[in-house]
């Protein structure tokens, strides 16, 4: 057993868990953050993607104790209060989800992807970047559309903020 201390969605949390506890299970079972899902055993489906210290990683392939001391954002912490994150809003607007199971991981991957491509995204890049996220419902068509749209919205927002600052 080890102590696990994390900052999750802006809140400091700590708990005691078996060392073999995966981060995803710590989030789901100890913290009740069930938005992060487990869809495979081999780190491939991406339903469990969360941000650890600003990077989108698979929480099923990391021990909770390994993450101790880190700052974590899960799907539950992405929206700004009642206001959806632009990626969340785009998934809704463009019907980028059906059963919703892969969606949290898709959205967490998408926000990371957009952040790494401030110059913008094209369809081929989005498809390649989704290599670690599997969806069985949508055929990805509308997921790709949603991510491209969110990328544009966020770029406009950033420009707007830059203008304001200037």
């Amino acid at each position: 057993m080890s102590d696990v201390s994390l900052t999750v969605n802006g809140r400091r949390v700590s708990g005691n868990a078996e060392d073999r506890t995966l981060l995803v299970h710590f989030l789901r079972e100890h913290l009740g953050l069930t938005g992060t899902h487990v869809g495979c055993d081999t780190s491939q489906c991406g339903a469990c993607v969360v941000h650890v210290d600003g990077r989108a990683v698979k929480s099923c392939s990391m021990l909770a104790v390994q993450a101790s001391g880190s700052t974590i954002v899960t799907i539950e912490g992405l929206a700004d209060g009642a206001e959806l994150h632009p990626v969340q809003a785009a998934f809704k607007e463009h019907h980028g989800l059906q059963c919703g199971f892969c969606t949290p991981g898709m959205i967490m991957t998408a926000t990371d992807m957009i952040a790494r491509h401030p110059q913008g995204l094209d369809e081929a890049t989005v498809r390649a970047e989704l290599d670690g996220n599997i969806c069985r419902c949508t055929g990805y068509h509308n997921i790709v559309k949603a991510i491209l749209a969110a990328s544009e919205t966020m770029a406009k927002g950033a420009k707007g903020r830059a203008k304001q600052a200037a």
Binding site: S2, D19, D41, T42, S43, S61, Q66, G132
Partner: protein, 265 residues
């Protein structure tokens, strides 16, 4: 996963001490080890986490010598400006490993210590005639990779870095397993000061290997044309549900040609 004791090492020497616990294993990115533990295919008693050791992180380039810390992630390697300048082929190779989330966690040290027969780094290091630096010694890549999941590492030995002389030209071409995204065949070619080296991953029954045929052909003329008559034998190549040995032999030739074309581009 079976029960396990986790330790976070404070230094390399601390890690070496902690490794003496039971059947302890080093934990770096954990992208292979944790999934193997989840499915109970690996069962270390203890894990010694070295991923946060600052000394083992990052890329250094001094003249022509490139040194990559053992816990440098694939993402950091693929985006490192110094590496992209000194050896763009290796940065590109790192960008082809797994998927973005895996690249954020997986490390060069973890990849080569595991020496999966379909991993990408072993081919690169073999072709780059790299040196694997451990807490005890330096090992030439030619001596380091010893067959399937086997390396020259001794008990308690910890990889700290990998270094190599930047090649004049190099490139990696990978044909991915459509399911796992590992290499069905990956070919890394490098033209260095001591000649041309070409290494193949994903295909050999004994893991990564250097292709004498490709090297011999390119030694005379580092050009796609030199590989025109290349016939790769299927002997000693893996055959499984994804690819027959014949198919792998074909892919070795195709990937080698494409790698040379990319290296010369």
């Amino acid at each position: 996963m079976y029960s396990v004791n986790y330790h976070r090492a404070a230094s390399v020497s601390d890690a070496a001490k902690l490794l003496k616990n039971g059947d302890a294993k080093l934990l770096s990115g954990g992208m292979t080890l944790i999934p193997a533990m989840k499915t109970r295919l690996a069962a270390p008693s203890d894990l010694v986490d070295v991923s946060r050791l600052k000394d083992l992180q990052g890329v250094k380039v001094s003249g022509k010598t490139v040194t990559i810390g053992a816990v440098t992630t694939h993402y950091d390697a693929s985006t490192d400006e110094k590496l992209k300048k000194a050896c763009p082929a290796l940065a590109h190779m790192a960008s082809l490993i797994g998927d973005p989330a895996v690249r954020y966690k997986g490390t060069i040290g973890g990849s080569i210590a595991n020496n999966d027969p379909a991993a990408d780094y072993p081919a690169a290091l073999l072709a780059l005639d790299a040196t694997i630096v451990t807490n005890k010694r330096e090992i030439a890549a030619d001596k380091f990779f010893k067959g399937l999941f086997e390396t020259a590492l001794k008990e308690g030995e910890i990889i700290t870095a990998v270094s190599f002389t930047a090649p004049a030209k190099a490139a990696y071409q990978k044909f991915r397993n459509p399911a796992s995204r590992y290499a069905i065949v990956g070919v890394f070619v490098a033209k260095g000061k001591d000649g041309v080296r070409a290494a193949v991953t994903g295909a050999g029954e004994d893991g990564v290997f250097r292709s004498k045929e490709i090297e011999a052909a390119l030694a005379k003329n580092f050009d796609v044309a030199a590989l025109g008559g290349l016939k790769v034998s299927a002997k000693g190549l893996m055959s499984d549900i994804h690819a027959s040995a014949d198919y792998r032999a074909n892919l070795i030739a195709v990937m080698a040609k494409r790698a040379v074309a990319a290296a010369n581009a």
